[in-house]
Structures are given as C-alpha cells and as structure tokens.
C-alpha cells in the first residue's frame, strides 16, 4: 500500500510529473486544440471530468477483475468505460452548448483516445492507490493537463503574429515551446518529495 499523503499525490500528478510535459501523455489534443485560450480551457475541463469518472470506475473494475482472476481483461474494460464516458460528455455538451461542441469538433470524440486518461487509470492501478487516492490522483492529473494546455495556448496566441521562419510554422514551433515549458516544469522536481 502507498503511504504518500493526498497533497503529495496531487502535487506530483499536477506539477512534478505533469502528464503532458513529463510523461508525454495527451499530446494529440495538446497540439490540436491549443490554438485558442477559450477552447483550451473548456477542453481541459472536459478531459478532467472524463478522467475523474473513468478513474473511479477503473478502481472498481480492477478490484472486480482481481476478485474473479481475470486481469488480462483490464485494458479492454478500461477502454470501454472511457469510451462510454466520453459519449456521455459529448451528448451533454451538445445539449447545453452547441457552439462549444462545434469548436471542439473532432477532438471531443478523440478524448477516448487521449492517452492521458487511460494513463491515469493504468498508473493508479500500478501504484496500487486506494479509492480516495485515485480520485485525488485523477484530479491532479486533470489539473496538470489543463494547466499545460492553457499555458501553451497563451503562448501560441502571442506567437501568432510573430515572424518566424516559414518552415517552423505550425507543429514544429509548438513543439519547441513545449520543450521549453517542459524544461521549466523540471524546476518543480523535488517538490512534494
């Protein structure tokens, strides 16, 4: 069993081992929807919500699969839970805010294939977190993802009109910014043990 305090788990997942900048999870939406601040914020919220739900479900599923002795079904069941949660979120957003639904576009169903979400579920299983710890871990990871997304969206908005060499426009430039951000986040190492 793990002995980390809840605060440490949160800080670790959010800053020290930031999912995007240290584990490279969830890079696709990170590159895709980080062009505008507003979309980035809402995308972060949606991802965080899905993360939380799927992390709670993953905890239950893992306990159940271990009890019936079929751990090889772990991956398949996790992905099914995530896919259905995403479907739910998609219907919910479509109902309450069609404009947000349009601006998120293809990236909304693609949350299913966001590695960060499956990553949270898998890591919490590997680290043998309890139920409460899992929730805190998922919240921290979601907050970290949103933070990274907002930071990079802000930087990209500023850089939109900057004069850069033509070949570095687009993905390459974003990756350079991400690299620099990742260096900055290394400053958090050691925080929270």
């Amino acid at each position: 069993m793990n002995t980390e305090s809840l605060g440490t788990i949160f800080l670790n997942a959010c800053l020290v081992n930031n999912f995007v900048l240290a584990y490279f999870l969830g890079i696709c939406p990170f590159l895709g929807v980080s062009g505008k601040m507003e979309t980035a914020t809402k995308m972060g919220g949606a991802v965080m919500f899905v993360m939380l739900i799927s992390s709670m479900c993953a905890y239950g599923i893992h306990a159940f699969l271990v009890s019936i002795g079929a751990p090889f079904l772990q991956l398949i069941s996790y992905i099914v839970v995530i896919a259905s949660t995403v479907q739910l979120v998609e219907m919910f957003i479509k109902k309450i805010s069609p404009s947000l639904f349009r601006s998120l576009g293809i990236f909304l169903p693609l949350i299913t294939t966001n590695c960060a979400i499956l990553g949270v579920a898998l890591f919490q299983t590997n680290k043998e977190y309890g139920f409460l710890e899992s929730i805190v871990y998922a919240l921290g990871a979601g907050a970290g993802f949103t933070l990274a997304l907002i930071l990079i969206a802000g930087l990209r908005e500023q850089l939109e009109f900057a004069e850069v060499p033509k070949i570095s426009k687009g993905t390459a430039l974003t990756l350079f910014i991400a690299g620099i951000l990742s260096l900055c986040f290394m400053g958090f190492a050691g925080l929270g043990g």
Binding site: F24, C28, F72, L75, A83, C115, S168
Partner: protein
C-alpha cells in the same frame, strides 16, 4: 485522411500503399499522429525500435481484422468495435513482450498498454481498413507501421547518441565526451522531434519550389 480521398481517384497499386506510409504520409513526420509513445519511449534506440515494432504488429493485425469485418460491423458502433479489436491485440502484445524480455517490458512500462490509444492505429482502421480489402489493408499497415518505426528510430538514435554517447548501448565516443543530459529528459524529446520536423519541412519546401 484527405490524401486517401485524393489518391483513390487514381489507380493505386499495393506498392504505392506501402510506399506512402514510409515517406509521403509518414505517420509521425507528416501526419503528426501517435505522438505520445513517440516522445515518451524514444530515449534510447533500442526502446524506440521495440516500441515501433510492437505498434506495427498491432496495426497490422487490427487492420486485417477490421478489413475482414468491414461489412458486418454496423456503422453506429464501429469505433467502439475497432477499439475492442485493438485492445485485444495490445493485450496479446503486452503479454508476449513480457514473455520475451522482462527487462524490455519494464523499460517500456505502461506505454505498451497505451498503444491502445495510439491515434495512428485507430485512424488507419477508420480511414483505410474499413473501406478497403484485406490485401490493400495489409500493405497499408506494413507501410505505416514501418514508417512509424523508422520515425521512432530516428528520434531514439539521435537522443541516445547525444544524451548517452552510445547507440544500442555501444559507446561511440571516447571518455572525454560530455553527454547532453537534456536529450534524455522529456524536454529533449520535444526538441528532437521539433528539429526533425524542421528538417522534413525544409526538404518538402525545397522540393515544391524546384
């Protein structure tokens, strides 16, 4: 994906399907798909190669199965069933790697399981295998898989040479070589990929000009 529509108008041979994945539509350098494993496990050439081959295997198997089942799967549940197919093969791969080399399994960690959510595999299933016959899908998967492995290897080799002064654990430089630690760190992954993209973009622009 738009490339598919454009190329389907002309007569496309199997070899073309194979070649396009290697260079013109390279999944990493051109389509920028499946970035997570690309950056995460490319810190050594060996890891990168193993990851690339594992992904290529899953891609091949899932492309075959999706293509075989393309007329039976109802449209509404297709994505869900593709993901189930992919997850099955990833579980197989996961256990196979564990049986072959525990050490390798440890160094790749959770990233083998995360092949499930590699957008490259799902996008090939959706954009290609569900619309084409089995033999074409096999060639597509082979091309894309090798292209992906090639790109991963390019990254892994650069990062290992600069960050560790070695390739496949064989030292390249004399004792005095000061290794660039940053290349092994996460930031190094971002920088290396960015530089590769710059180079490819540069070549591409020069080609269209001339």
């Amino acid at each position: 994906m738009s490339n598919n529509n454009a190329s389907s108008k002309k007569k496309v041979t199997s070899t073309d399907e194979f070649i396009k994945g290697l260079w013109k539509d390279n999944p990493v350098f051109v389509q920028v798909l499946g970035m997570c494993p690309v950056l995460a496990v490319s810190n050594t050439a060996q890891n990168a190669l193993a990851m690339g081959l594992a992904t290529a295997f899953v891609l091949l198997m899932s492309n075959i199965l999706v293509s075989l089942l393309r007329n039976f799967v109802p449209k509404q549940v297709r994505i869900a069933s593709y993901i189930l197919i992919i997850a099955t093969f990833v579980t197989v791969t996961d256990y196979a790697i564990q049986a072959i080399s525990v050490e390798l399994h440890k160094s790749l960690g959770a990233f083998i399981s995360l092949i499930v959510v590699n957008c490259l595999i799902l996008s090939r299933a959706e954009a290609f295998a569900s619309k084409n016959n089995v033999s074409k899908s096999i060639f597509d998967a082979l091309g894309m898989g090798l292209g992906f492995t090639f790109a991963l290897f390019c990254l892994g080799a650069v990062r290992e040479i600069l960050g560790n002064g070695s390739i496949f654990n064989i030292a390249l430089f004399s004792e005095g070589f000061q290794s660039w630690i940053v290349m092994i760190l996460p930031a190094g992954g971002f920088f290396t990929l960015a530089i590769w993209l710059l180079i490819i973009n540069g070549i591409q622009t020069r080609k269209t000009k001339s």
